[in-house]
Symmetry: C2
Subunit: 229 residues, 2 copies
Amino acid sequence: MSTPAVILLSGGLDSATTLAIAQSAGYECHAVSFDYGQRHRVELEAAKRVGEACGVASHRMITLDTTAFAGSSLTDGGEVPKGRADDAIAEGIPSTYVPARNLVFLSYALGVAEGIGATDLFIGVNAVDYSGYPDCRPEFIASFEAAANLATRIGVEGGGIVIHTPLLNLTKADIIRRGLSLGVDYEMTISCYDPDGQGRACGDCDACLLRARGFAEAGSDDPVRRRCS
Amino acid sequence: MSTPAVILLSGGLDSATTLAIAQSAGYECHAVSFDYGQRHRVELEAAKRVGEACGVASHRMITLDTTAFAGSSLTDGGEVPKGRADDAIAEGIPSTYVPARNLVFLSYALGVAEGIGATDLFIGVNAVDYSGYPDCRPEFIASFEAAANLATRIGVEGGGIVIHTPLLNLTKADIIRRGLSLGVDYEMTISCYDPDGQGRACGDCDACLLRARGFAEAGSDDPVRRRCS
């Protein structure tokens, strides 16, 4: 019997690749996705598509009370930054930062893990081609893993919790190459922070720009549906 | 202007005392309570009463998707342990343990704190007269504080987040004495894991037994309403 693992699946390129990596390593993958009032909620449909196509063992869609997630342009209707140069994306914490998001996501996922007896969690955070969010950095993940092992029954009595971050030190191009080699269908994913109602990407927000550069560097065409394509 | 702080308010004896301590220290207190499908949900009415009586600056009632909280007798309808001796209560993790609960609560509270610009959080955990939950121990709180400072904008750019645990090393009797000296009206609180529909305590679960012993040792009468009194 394969080992169960919980996978955070947003519907984006990174989490789809993470799922493929976990499955290729032989884990029985249980996906968890979150509705936190994000303006790009259409990504949840992408998450559903990806989960179904990959044949996950289960998929929980968790609705979060949005009371805690004020103060971000991803949730409050503010302006999402567009057309930023690479060095601007890499600098500082942008307005799309959502307070405590990965902490809440991982905490919930940990609750799910305990419920199904899993000690392995996968999250597609990346500290190379990323948006400058503090909760994507390796030091945060290590710190959360330590807290998780102190907080939970499986941490204290069981074999210990491991937070897997297979994308942490990869460039976006490396992630895409890895995903393509595992057969990930990136047409099903969506990375855009500001898609239209049909789920077509804007092509101009930080997430779209990072994705476009990644595909260009990987020497591959992005099958994503764009608004103006 | 006083400093804002976020207080986890369950409606129990410990959190009511914690709120009184935070207020007496001059903080502008913003309360957060959670509905996580607990069988003793009547405690949320107690939380509301306590918050109103103490004049909190705001009070958020956050409903959690219960998908993550399976596997506890507090949420799944299993039997709550009754009539246990002190040494049995102190030993091991009981069935009332809820997977990742304090981790989820604190993560949400941190999101609220970022939204209102607070860097101080108060939680009434206690590692002396407690129910053996791993997420009430000082090593977990310290670990969470470290993760919180790495995860958030206020942790990275601001003055740093502090998790206050004023009850951590107090006995239940000490907590009660402290609360009484600050004028806490314990009649408004409820500690029972298995209250009836009118919010009357069973008198026999771990929480009731710890509370009764605390009042006895403090030399005070517990004004709580009991089922058989």
